[in-house]
């Protein structure tokens, strides 16, 4: 199976540890992975902020970069949802027949990381060891965008040494919403405050999720509150073994 990694622009730039964890994890499970260097971004920020013409070249770039892979794996539920739901819309609305075909060819191969592990590779125990108290926030796009269901929790429950605690009101939005956090900073902050309060109520040392974008927002708030809780993409927990972290 030819696996192409879509690391996403945010992970590439700000959270390279998540990308390295995905590589470590998939190699440990016996797979060879590739990182097509032509890749950049899923165009979600442009699309969701209303800049459709600007997002089209990124859609075309994605289809070009990942043509021919059996599986395209990404550690972002949000970007996976963008590609599945909106790349075909953009290609249809603004593109040509060739682009529509190219997008239609790659979209079915796109898997969010936990979907790939559970559905395609058929594993829930990835051999991870992580002896810490952890709580999991299901981001809106992992819940309602790609419908991950309990896949992340099944993977986390199989981690050795982990003390996994439920997050109250887990399904509540964290208030990030991409450029919403900038355009409506005050409302975003009010929503964030409630999310942080529930995180702190769990007594967890680590908050994890399937999206570094939401974690950047929640983690940024937790850091400002000097809370002592750190945020970690769940790929980094799944990649952890004895002696790491």
């Amino acid at each position: 199976m030819r696996i192409g990694l879509f690391i996403t622009c945010l992970n590439d730039t700000l959270f390279p540890g998540t990308g390295r964890a995905v590589v470590t994890l998939l190699e440990r499970l016996g797979h060879t992975v590739e990182f097509p260097r032509e890749q950049s971004c899923c165009a979600q920020m442009h699309f969701n902020t209303g800049y459709r013409p600007e997002s089209l070249p990124m859609v075309a770039r994605f289809a070009r970069a990942f043509a021919g892979y059996d599986a395209i794996v990404t550690p972002s539920a949000s970007c996976a949802a963008m590609i599945r739901d909106n790349h075909p819309v953009l290609a249809e609305q603004l593109g040509d027949a060739a682009l529509r075909d190219a997008v239609a060819a790659v979209v079915p191969a796109v898997h969010e990381l936990t979907e790939f592990l559970v559905d395609v590779l058929g594993v829930t125990d990835v051999g991870a060891v992580f002896p810490h108290r952890v709580t999991y926030h299901p981001t809106c796009h992992s819940l309602r965008g790609v419908r991950l269901g309990d896949r992340p929790l099944r993977l986390l429950r199989a981690v050795r040494g982990i003390d996994l605690v439920d997050l109250p009101a887990a399904e509540a939005c964290c208030g990030f919403g991409g450029t919403f956090a900038v355009k409506n900073a005050d409302t975003s902050t009010a929503i964030l405050a409630d999310k942080m309060t529930t995180v702190l109520s769990t007594g967890a040392e680590v908050l994890c999720a399937a999206d570094n974008s939401c974690l950047m927002h929640i983690g940024g708030g937790l850091s400002r509150w000097n809370s002592g809780v750190r945020t970690l993409h769940l790929a980094e927990i799944l990649a952890a073994t004895e002696g790491t972290r």
Partner: protein
């Protein structure tokens, strides 16, 4: 799409834009508490009430399908409705906009009052359409007093306030505030509240009951909205919780119903679907306490003079937009408001329209023109909870991003120079369409981040438009080595 066409009334009350209006609401701690309490309670009730219906998803799909069919053949069903209502002894009026509708209502009220009646008064059962056209204000200007009879509407009217919610217009008030409003204002409008009024819900309800009973028994004209109207029979339906609507619909001599044209459904049997979907989605009840259905007039029983006003007010323009028209399927259950993280914090007033919350964020810009209400499509985190809760499956997030694109296009058209945001988006698009430029930007960002970054590689203050973000959140400083740099060093050159 309407562009800056002025459908007057209260669809869009103008500035301030959402972010500023929200800031005021966010600072009101009592409002925040009232809203959180109310939305949390209704959310739980709704999940219980919808969860116990085994074929809920099929019901939603049926509701959505009826609404899609109605929208595709709207003219046909409206003409059929007109014929049915007329055949049943009612009179149908067509109103292109708010001015038109208000003028028709005022004329009908005066005619019904007769030349010897000095008091021009009407009782009203809660109606979004009449709020949308600013009917009460227009009637007041014409010397006619309109009395709201829905308990929450009464609270809003007496408090000289605006509704904050579609279904629970006084959601932003707690009972202590309501007691104060009743004690101070009821006397100016009719029967005063008792001197010893407490904030016990029973005492408040009793005060309202006595106050309103007087109105029902003395007022000769009633104005209602409509939840649904069946084209085949000409039957109008109003659902409500308190029975005050039932009083309005049966006691007066003249009944005037103001209805948005999208409320028509093809057949009487379609009501079966909506009367299941609506109460469970809105109040979390299996059935609403009062469902009133009437078809024209019945000699000797109920109002003997019935008028139906079919209101367009921008709706046919919305129909032209194949993505945006979904919003016309709304049955005003307000489930989307109760699950929305943004609405829960800001309340309805921040949306600057009689239609607040997620549905307001897509309906208002379409009815009032996207240029005028340009901040509303951005007043959402796109979390998708509204779409999941909507009983007729309106894809609100899809319409939101569709309208965002329209708002950006409208800005582009109207300016000689691009906005700072447009410039930033263009620059970002250029960088992101070039892995080479992206790598350069990553190195520059890492260097800049080290300059900005304080202890632990956290940036505490960002410049320019990002200042709002960094007021409450630290940002990780970009690491020296991006993923693509690491990959090249550790995998490609291995």
């Amino acid at each position: 799409m309407t562009e800056d066409t002025d459908h007057d009334g209260r669809v869009w009350l103008g500035t301030p834009a959402f972010p500023e209006a929200a800031r005021t609401a966010l600072a009101d701690t009592r409002l925040r508490h009232n809203l959180r309490h109310a939305t949390t309670t209704i959310r739980t009730k709704r999940l219980d009430a919808t969860g116990e219906v085994p074929h809920w998803e099929e019901l939603r799909e049926a509701g959505a399908a009826i609404k899609r069919r109605t929208a595709r053949h709207l003219a046909t069903y409206l003409e059929q409705l007109e014929a049915s209502v007329t055949a049943a002894g009612g009179t149908v009026h067509w109103a292109a906009d708010a001015t038109d509708a208000n003028r028709i209502v005022a004329r009908l009220v005066r005619a019904a009052g007769g030349p010897d009646t000095e008091r021009h008064e009407v009782v009203k059962v809660k109606s979004m359409a009449t709020q949308e056209i600013g009917l009460n204000e227009a009637l007041a200007a014409a010397g006619i007093t309109a009395y709201e009879t829905d308990l929450a509407e009464l609270i809003v009217q007496l408090g000289e306030d605006r509704p904050s919610h579609i279904l629970v217009p006084a959601i932003h008030r707690n009972r202590a505030e309501i007691r104060e409003i009743f004690a101070e204002r009821m006397g100016e409008w009719g029967r005063a509240a008792p001197d010893d009024l407490t904030d016990d819900p029973k005492a408040l309800a009793e005060a309202a009951r006595l106050h309103l009973r007087e109105k029902f028994l003395t007022t000769r004209v009633a104005i209602s909205g409509a939840n649904f109207a069946a084209a085949d029979t000409g039957t109008i339906a109003v659902v409500e919780s308190e029975g005050n609507g039932r009083m309005c619909l049966t006691l007066p001599e003249t009944l005037i119903t103001v209805m948005g044209i999208e409320k028509v459904v093809p057949t009487f049997t379609d009501l079966e679907v909506f009367l299941q979907l609506l109460p469970r989605s809105s109040t979390g009840e299996r059935m609403n306490p009062y469902t009133s259905l009437w078809t024209g007039v019945t000699p000797g029983d109920g109002p003997q003079d019935f008028h139906l006003i079919l209101l367009d007010n921008g709706r046919t323009d919305v129909l032209k937009d194949t993505v945006g028209r979904q919003a016309l399927a709304c049955i005003r259950c307000s489930a989307c408001l109760n699950v929305c993280p943004v609405y829960e914090r800001t309340g309805g007033h921040a949306y600057g329209s009689v239609y607040p919350g997620p549905i307001g964020a897509v309906l208002t810009p379409q009815l009032a023109g996207v240029r005028r209400a340009a901040s509303l499509p951005f007043a959402s985190t796109l979390c998708g909870a509204c779409y999941e809760a909507c009983p007729v499956k309106i894809d609100i997030p899809e319409i939101l991003v569709h309208l965002r694109a329209k708002a950006v296009e409208a800005k582009r058209d109207g300016r000689a120079l691009p906005t700072p945001e447009a410039l930033a988006m263009k620059a970002a698009a250029t960088v992101l369409d070039s892995p080479g430029l992206l790598a350069v930007a990553q190195r520059a960002g890492a260097a800049g981040g080290r300059l900005l970054g304080g202890r632990g590689g956290r940036i505490r203050r960002l410049p320019g438009p990002l200042a709002g973000w960094s007021a409450t959140r630290d940002t990780p400083a970009p690491p020296r080595e991006s993923f693509r740099t690491w990959w090249r060093a550790h995998r490609e050159e291995r």
